[in-house]
């Protein structure tokens, strides 16, 4: 398979030159220095590596970079314009829905994707939609509250 020489990341075309079997996670982190995307397990169990591919939450640790050529990739760094916060980022701060913060970027992108599919989820739908994400510090109830508050504001996410 051909080497990957361009990716659409956070609204801009990024030049690079990597083998297609690299994980998207390692290319984002190591080649593009977009380290807001986190490694947690490497097997899709924790979702700390979540990014949006064409708007859909995707685990970048299980995604080969060769499979996302030409697709729109959004990482936590590109969720809101420079200097601004996305409503979900604001909601996480407002609900104090983080401690160490390692899971937070993946949580926020997972939550954004969840509300795109379901603008007004019930708490049970939030729980089942987010259950693939691990927060070892245990801020789950606060994360549910943060997502609920964004949905309550009209789900602009």
């Amino acid at each position: 398979m051909a080497r990957i020489t361009e990716l659409d990341v956070n609204g801009s075309r990024r030049r690079l030159d990597v083998e297609p079997d690299r994980t998207l996670l390692s290319v984002l982190r190591d080649d593009l220095d977009l380290t807001g995307t986190k490694y947690g397990c490497g097997e899709g169990q924790c979702a700390a590596c979540t990014v949006l591919i064409d708007g859909v939450a995707t685990r970048s640790c299980l995604t080969k970079v060769g499979s996302v050529s030409g697709k729109r990739i959004v990482t936590i760094e590109g969720l809101a314009p420079e200097g601004k916060l996305h409503p979900m980022q604001e909601a996480f701060l407002e609900a104090d829905a983080l401690q160490c913060g390692w899971c937070t970027p993946g949580m926020i992108l997972g939550a954004v994707s969840l509300l795109q599919k379901n603008t007004h989820p019930t708490d049970a739908e939030i729980v089942s939609g987010m259950n693939g994400h691990i927060c070892r510090c245990g801020t789950y109830p606060r994360i549910v509250a943060a997502i609920r508050s964004v949905a309550g504001k009209g789900g602009r996410a």
Binding site: S26, D33, E77, Q99, W102, R136, T139
Partner: protein, 678 residues
């Protein structure tokens, strides 16, 4: 490393306060001699604070931020006493060249020890500002006030920078400066938001895992297939033939570096190693008798004691161990996630046989620790690979490495026994802990005769601290056994505890939790049950009530109320977050987390095999915070975890009649009577 003199010079003009900790609140801050330092720090310097000519306030502490929000609470300490907004303060933490020596961030000591020291440094700086204003303006000292980042007297007003311009004042303080009483706090005691929150939600904060240096290589290290195995032979030719790959072999240490992480992974996989493996002494199924058999002071088992068991569990910090190391002119700089940056500096200096002042350890706020990041393995490996290859090296551990080569919360066996009068008074108490540790060993209840012993055994796995240490295991057993005694005495578990609890603070949390939970009017329905527990550790009192529902053996924790009291509350929202988070994390060790091992190998070293609590496991969690402004603040990162396991276990008993005497209690559900599910 720079000396104190260099450091103060480097800060430039302004005011510097150097705090020498007094004995009352800083036993851990002492330094001892430091090899190679031109001008050793005074033994007990624990914090310093600088107000620059630009008005920027910078406070320095060797403590670190691992998610417990110490960066915020320490900032509040400075803001409170310096009467300046939180946003005007920078907190430099855990950098061995910039901050005073510190033993480490553990044992819930930041709040009881560093927090008052920060306040004293800030209070002294405030008094220096008052002195300066009084001299410059030629006004009575008593007429000078400091508030909201300004110094005022009569009609005059100046910012801190204006006042300190052209000054170069250093004050070393030892005596306790007058601190603002908790009843008059304006910033301390309030829910100041996480000061670094924005950097986290935008992904801009650089954790150790994220650090990148020019020319940096990615390192992997060859580990044995089992504990204790030694390298018999190695063929590294295939790896060495890979472009950009360097293989480092120094004795039993074998590692590879490569320009990208995938190549490093492939190079590691290409190493052909033969190992001489050891025969295991025990495994996770057979280890409980092993703990008693290997007890250094014998086995105190007796038939009248009731035995409980505790599994090994893993911390699973979501950011695994990570480090980037680089050498320049014989000096080593390492960025790493650790709870003990100065301890890691010492480990590195010893390993590479260089003076400590040639090692600089920087600790970026890290992706959690829970007691699991006291050691510097990744830093050592990165430094070794960087030294051998002459390039900066990143050494990020994988999850599997973190689950195997870090250390675990100890497993153990705990035996309990008691005598109870007909009126419910416990008259005698006996408690033996084999291997899991002494923290929280002592009963907080008032009992006339107590025997409480911690027995050291041989540990089959590398074991060390974990959030709350052994207090979780000891509370699980004590509070489960208290429940056994209450039922034997035909008393309500709440009444039985209150009967034996004389300590006012303990009674307060028990009553607060029971009231919020509505314990007295709880209604049992088939399959559901209610449990209560209480305890004390590290200056914090905790009581927990839980409701569970057991359906076909599956345990669902429905609702938890936890009351917590740790003196004067520093930050209510962050305390609430700690209490709730500890309950959530504690559910894992209570119900399903356990390390399985055999043949000197970990069998469940992936998150797909080692289950941690998730969204769907969460009960409704309610916290009740008791604010004792008359009591010095204690830490809260650990003790809130001890109550959940026994409260859930007691609720399972209430629901099913089954007393589960092991942690975890229900990895495969609760057995029907006579079944062997557990």
């Amino acid at each position: 490393m720079i000396t104190r003199r260099d450091f103060i010079a480097a800060l430039g003009g302004g005011i510097v306060v150097v705090l020498i900790a007094d004995d009352s609140d800083a036993q851990e801050a002492g330094g001892g001699a430091r090899r190679g330092t031109r001008e050793p720090m005074p033994q007990n310097v624990s914090a310093w604070l600088h107000i620059g000519e630009d008005g920027v306030v910078t406070a320095f502490t060797g403590k670190v931020e691992v998610g417990q929000n110490s960066r915020t609470s320490l900032t509040q300490a400075v803001a409170e006493e310096l009467r300046t907004p939180v946003a005007s303060i920078r907190m430099i933490m855990g950098d061995t060249s910039q901050t005073p020596f510190d033993m480490g961030t553990f044992g819930s000591m930041t709040t009881p020890q560093m927090w008052p020291q920060m306040r004293k440094a800030a209070a002294s700086a405030r008094e220096m500002l008052v002195d300066l204003a009084s001299q410059k303006w030629m006004v009575e000292r008593a007429s000078v006030a400091v508030a909201n980042g300004k110094v005022t007297s009569g009609g005059r007003s100046a910012g801190f920078g204006e006042l300190t311009k052209g000054e170069k004042l250093t004050q070393t303080i030892t005596a306790s400066a007058a601190l603002t009483p908790a009843t008059e706090w304006r910033v301390a005691g309030t829910s100041v938001p996480k000061v670094d929150g924005r950097a986290i939600v935008t992904g801009s904060h650089k954790y150790a895992y994220d650090i990148r240096r020019p020319g940096m290589q990615f390192g992997r290290v060859l580990y044995p297939p089992s504990y204790g195995a030694t390298l018999a032979s190695l063929d590294s030719s295939a790896a060495e033939a890979m472009p950009g790959v360097k293989v480092v072999r120094e004795g039993d240490f074998v590692g590879v570096t490569a320009p990208d992480s995938l190549t490093a992974d492939k190079a590691l996989a290409a190493l052909k190693a033969d190992w001489k493996q050891l025969t295991a002494e025990t495994n996770s199924r057979d280890m409980f008798p092993y703990f008693k058999k290997t007890s250094r002071d014998g086995d105190a088992s007796r038939p009248e004691l009731t035995s409980y068991t505790i599994a090994y569990i893993a911390h699973v910090p979501l950011e695994p161990r990570a480090a980037v190391a680089e050498w320049n002119d014989g000096k080593l700089t390492v960025w790493t996630g650790t709870q003990r940056p100065f301890g890691v500096r010492s480990e590195l200096a010893t390993s590479f046989q260089i003076p400590e002042d040639r090692v600089h350890v920087i600790m970026p706020d890290t992706g959690s620790g829970y007691g699991g990041k006291h050691t510097g393995e990744a830093a050592y490996e990165a430094a070794r690979l960087a030294k051998a290859t002459g390039k900066p090296v990143k050494r990020n551990w994988t999850r599997e490495e973190e689950m195997t080569w870090a250390y675990f919360r100890p497993g153990g066996v705990i035996d309990a026994g008691a005598k109870v009068d007909p009126d419910g008074t416990i008259t005698a108490w006996e408690f033996h802990n084999y291997n899991s540790g002494p923290s929280g060993l002592q009963s907080p209840y008032s009992i006339a005769s107590k025997t409480e012993k911690s027995h050291n055994s041989k540990s089959p796995l590398r074991q060390s601290s974990y959030r709350g240490l052994a207090a979780t295991a000891n509370h699980f057993v004590r509070e489960s056994y208290m429940d056994e005694l209450a039922h034997a005495a035909k008393m309500d578990p709440l009444e039985f505890r209150l009967k034996n609890a004389k300590n006012e603070r303990l009674r307060n949390v028990i009553e607060a939790a029971a009231a919020k939970f509505d314990w007295k009017s709880r209604k049992k329905t088939p399959g559901n049950g209610f449990g209560i527990s209480a305890g004390f550790e590290k200056g914090g009192y905790v009581a927990c009530c839980a409701e569970v529902r057991v359906t076909n053996g599956a345990v669902k924790v429905v609702r938890v109320v936890e009351a917590f009291e740790c003196g004067a509350i520093v930050n209510p929202e962050h305390l609430r977050n700690q209490v709730e988070g500890a309950v959530a994390m504690g559910l894992g060790g209570a119900l399903f987390e356990q390390i399985d091992f055999a043949d000197n190998r970990i069998l469940n070293l992936k998150l797909s095999r080692y289950r941690v609590p998730r969204f769907a496991d969460m009960p409704v969690i309610e916290s009740v915070l008791l604010d004792r402004k008359d009591i010095v603040s204690a830490g809260a990162g650990e003790t809130p975890i001890v109550g959940i396991a026994p409260a859930v276990g007691n609720a399972i008993f209430d629901a099913t009649g089954q007393r589960i005497r092991c942690l975890p209690m229900a990895p495969k559900g609760v057995p029907a009577s006579g079944s062997d599910l557990v």
